[in-house]
Symmetry: D2
Subunit: 354 residues, 4 copies
């Protein structure tokens, strides 16, 4: 497995859900950035488990420790390494799964590829818990971007069949402000319905998916390149690194398929710079940022761990088994994935500005 | 701009729409592959312009010439370089665009990023014409994959508002066979409607988009890794390198958002190997191929070049102008992008097997 | 700064001499390797300080802790992360150096590049102490190579003006055995003279350099590629990552310059495989291993930290100052660099076999 | 084989000695550089064969053709591709070598690795002729560096046993000027002796090696990073990509081994910036350029193709054979490699400034 991503900056993630720790090393950061530990912790807290009845009851403080790359509170330019020690491990929950294959999970592929040596407890290195490192990197990236007034936001666009009110084609700072809360939806009635959908699924030992719309404001013109280093290419590689992401749409996304060119093209005007009336292209033309908001939507699949009985196979005998996944799970992972998606966007923009 | 992609194999693309040539160098190929020039040409012909009234009238023979990396008809293991000389250049068509910004195009971003030095004729290096190199590489990859019985296919899933019949969740060789034709749709009535939608748009100086569903059969278990080298991450980086792609869905894609986990999880059974009843996950779990078909859908936006009048800006004066794009354009690029998408899938699988 | 190296396997190093810790993450290792902690520690002990009167008196246990990537004693295929906590920090030794520039050190370049934010204590991230991570990775690599009978050895070829007896052009297992000791020289008289040269320099508040000849036996034919991925290119990039290395010679090295082709060419014969009478080319032709021992020599410069007075500049005033570097230093770093050089060779071979 | 090098800029080389062509694609160049074709050709001419009685009699015009990435005489920012068609092919010279293994050549490793599919004519892709692409890239890089007053030079430091006068530790523009000639040595008597050594070897059907000292003046402080991206690491990877290079020394190089720290450290003084009295470290401390000249020496082995009889093996029967290599060879490749080494330095500096 390769936990290394190397472009202008570098990321090296490591860890297991129920191992010693999870963490990340970030390479290529500038020296002299004040490390805002409170902000970083607040970002990690958005992702951490056990925050409400919507999430897994597993409690983890997710307290980070920086073990290299800082000196007297500032980045030094050297690799910045952070670790989080795992505390609340109930590995025994997973013993009965050692030889079973959970539908929708990486159990089968991991066992095949790694010859049975993977740490199966809580999905080991395949766990979404590894994304804590990305959130740490995202917090660092957001701090650097903020110095240039680049701001990142996200909306829970839908949970199961409940859709929040549509953001307009061109997102602005008012929308960012309206979404600056722990459960970022515009319409409070929809929020209530979404929460109910999650709790109903939980009650039913089931799970639900949803969509996250994420954006960056005040992005400079000129990031990215045509073809292999398009903003979409770099960003998509990181987005699909986040477990449970199954679709990615830029701007109008799948709606482009049924549009006319005369509808989908973004008309151009001048107002203290070149702007577009709509932002169907999600702020990117020819792979390069055009100064409009970077805007994309990610589909998150329902958590595959469910208590409901499913058909599977006993790995030792190849015989059919009825499987229900016990343990502590999220009935819906969307709210906790949201800060990861924001982080990945912040990292991408920082990387392309380097 | 970086035209280089380097993973296990390497791709280096170059060229301009109305420059001397387009081409590609492929690195990391094994020695001893018989180069099937007829097959390669047939693949290039699927993408080349001027084939029917559905496409741009620009005529290009797209005859390729291999200038390094082959000896006595076989690959040598050295970099394989192919060039196609441009022949049918009507650059004068583009003179009037030198200082205008076409909505939906990279004109603005290119001019900003490259300080006015880009070759603006036919979008220069931003042209979809550069993807001919990817089709060449795809043909080579398909030949190698075929030796291991791995097969690639694709469906025009929709054009504008016309959708072809749905392929089932688990695609098989019968579907591949049914789609082995120049306009690969299952339902002939739908094909007629699609062709009409394209010609109507052309008549109206407009353009339409659509969707391509693409798949690979007989993919071995174990390709890819969790996180940064997931099959989805590697593939998406290449997919979004293809101009006009704006959304990418794996398996059930955006439909995951409104599903229950009990629906979206693919039940597991044993039949001469581990299989799943459905293939909502598109053949990938935890970033690793699971042996079911790799299955994804790409949304292609309507060609931005349209004769209809649009709002734009005169680059020299910043004043509003009415712009209509003359020249030779495709009213719908979906059929010509389809072999590029297939190629990108073949390249990705070959790369991950290396 | 980029602490990431990514080829077939990946390395991510981090840490500072007097910070919290030093460590490494290794990506791309196969699953199922038994982690031999005793062997790893013995390798780290070869590099650690404070072992004898030849080295710095700084005492560090250099006890490593694996915090991810292992499960029940085996590698899992996930990123393998190791940290060593720094214990014996006497940072006060370095306070007086904050605004001085030590000749031969990175003080000036670090201060210029990182705007004064580097951790200056013990050279911070520029310290040779960071190579502990490489020795850890080297121990893992050696364990894997050993399964295929590939063996790594090294000779202290010279210290200051004392040269050990020459190894022959074609090194074999007898030489490897003869050099399997903590101060690997062939001739015991020369060893005595080398030790004396080091202690004399120490007494004189000075330092000395030397040469290390390193080799691998039983290397398979076919590793590497011509040009950018030649064995020499990959290996040299890692060798020159090791602080204090200033020259690298393959096989006959600088002696090639004064040879005739008829002398330098290695005559070819057959004896259970293609072999060469001499190994002037160091086991590599056209960038590719030829089955003869990989054989190269590295020159290590004298430790730049010396007590002797040198000319430098006060960074605040630009005025000349007399500088003598107090603190705990190695009068000769050659014996401690030797296991790092071996490690880098093991990592390179493992990487090229992946 | 991988002909791709990708760091901040990208290089993709291709071609064979007696195939259709050789060439290169350069990615990541800025837009708007005036392409000085006369200068590029003059650089290629320095490397091309058939210039005097010192080199192979093979005549190649080495006329380059730019087939992408330029528009109206300037770089566009798109990949810049150049090809040179091979003209003077006497492939029949090589037929008798098809099943023989030339000592010192890549014949054996190539045949093993590429299963007999390599183009064996004139060493095919293993030929030094492929470096024409690097010289083209070097000419582009030199043009860009010149805008910032960064200048590259080189000395033939020795041919066989004849050494030119030593350049001082700190090289300056006077030395650069003195070496600006086709056979760059300081001492004309030594030049005469070197030429004689080459012609004597030629007469004797033998070959000789030598050393090249190469340097860059006015290099900014701060290029490179500690460890994997040190100036030495990046540069060495490219230097050892050049066929026939077998040793690389920075600054005092192998002489460091026998020096005291008090001799090898470069004393620091201030004179309109931080400078050093000597430049034993070759302009690099801690992997980062320090503003002094980048200064290194490369050892080039004698051309392995010699007419003298050598011991080899018949590949089909494994029986010993006497082999003498007929055809057109250079009795000494040093003068023709020199512009390649300069090019590689220019490329490295440009890359690290990007």
């Amino acid at each position: 497995m390769s936990g290394i991503w190397k472009h202008n900056i570098g990321l090296s993630i490591f860890g297991e859900s129920h191992g010693e720790s999870v963490g990340i090393t970030i390479s290529g950061l500038k020296a002299g950035l004040l490390i805002d530990e409170a902000f970083i912790q607040s970002e990690l807290d958005r992702r951490k488990p056990g925050q409400s009845d919507l999430t897994t009851p597993r409690k983890e403080a997710d307290k980070f420790e920086i073990i290299s790359g800082q000196f007297e509170g500032y980045t030094t330019g050297a690799p910045l390494t952070m670790i989080i020690r795992n505390t609340n491990k109930k590995s025994s929950d997973y013993n009965h799964l050692k030889n079973r294959l959970r539908p929708g999970h990486a159990d089968f592929t991991a066992k095949e590829k790694y010859k049975g040596f993977t740490d199966y407890r809580g999905s080991g290195h395949f766990s979404g818990r590894i994304t804590a490192g990305l959130v740490f990197a995202g917090a660092i990236a957001k701090s650097i971007l903020k110095e240039q007034d680049i701001k990142i936001g996200a909306q829970i666009a839908s949970i199961h069949q409940v859709e929040d009110d549509n953001l307009p084609s061109v997102i602005n700072e008012n929308h960012l402000d309206a979404l600056s809360k722990s459960f970022p939806v515009l319409n409070m009635e929809k929020e209530t319905m979404m929460r109910k959908a999650i709790l109903d699924a939980k009650e039913d030992k089931n799970s639900v998916g949803g969509k996250i719309r994420c954006f960056a404001l005040n992005v400079p013109v000129g990031l990215g390149n045509p073809f292999f280093e398009s903003v979409e290419s770099i960003l998509s590689g990181l987005i699909f690194s986040v477990p449970a992401t199954k679709a990615l749409e830029f701007g109008a996304g799948v709606r482009f398929a049924s549009m006319y060119g005369s509808e989908s093209n973004d008309d151009i005007y001048f107002d203290e710079g070149i702007k577009t009336r709509t932002n169907n292209n999600g702020g990117i033309n020819g792979g390069i940022s055009n100064g409009m908001p970077i805007d994309f939507t990610v589909t998150i699949k329902p958590t595959p761990s469910i208590g409901k009985t499913q058909e599977s196979v006993n790995l030792l005998t190849n015989e059919s088994v009825d499987l229900s996944v016990e343990g502590r799970h999220d009935p819906c992972i969307v709210p906790r994935v949201l800060p990861v998606i924001e982080s990945v966007l912040a990292i991408t923009i920082l990387d392309l500005m380097n």
